[in-house]
Amino acid sequence: SQTIHQWPATLVQPVGSPLSLECTVEGTSNPNLYWYRQAAGRGLQLLFYSVGIGQISSEVPQNLSASRPQDRQFILSSKKLLLSDSGFYLCAWKGVAYGYTFGSGTRLTVV
């Protein structure tokens, strides 16, 4: 069966520090992978999606970047975090079938 792993679960980082969130998928190949951000009490905002290794599409201009170094690995990064980067980050995959499977999320607090 397919599973998605996302870590860390929580993270507190100072302003100006770098960020690296990792997401991996098991049990499937060539998945479409996504990073979403969810501000407190708000909906899901699509940040990046990837349809294959090295292929990244950015949905909104921002302080973040994404990379897909391997088929089942998707990384969200920042060189210097801003206070506004705080939020709940969700990785998701979408295989042949429709619909998403989400990871458990990372709560990022920038202080």
């Binding site: 996302q6 996504y34 009490g41 429709y98 619909g99 990871g103 458990s104």
Partner: protein, 113 residues
Amino acid sequence: GESVGLHLPTLSVQEGDNSIINCAYSNSASDYFIWYKQESGKGPQFIIDIRSNMDKRQGQRVTVLLNKTVKHLSLQIAATQPGDSAVYFCAENPPGGYQKVTFGIGTKLQVIP
């Protein structure tokens, strides 16, 4: 379009009553729709789905209704329980294996014991 950080509407329901959560979708060509439940601090979980060739689908205590004429989805939860308290999202999938599913802004369901 994509959710862009709008404030979530909230629905308060007495325990044991039925809940109805509504959602408007944007693409009349979307052929598949999904409801997700997101509990606090967790990722969204699949609840129920429906294809555009149907207007109703039932699961365990949940029913999804699809009205393509007005591009409207609803999720009905029977005999609402405290464990149903969560944020509920609808999602639409455009046809043709498109890469992105579009989410509604979500509705927060609060169950009053």
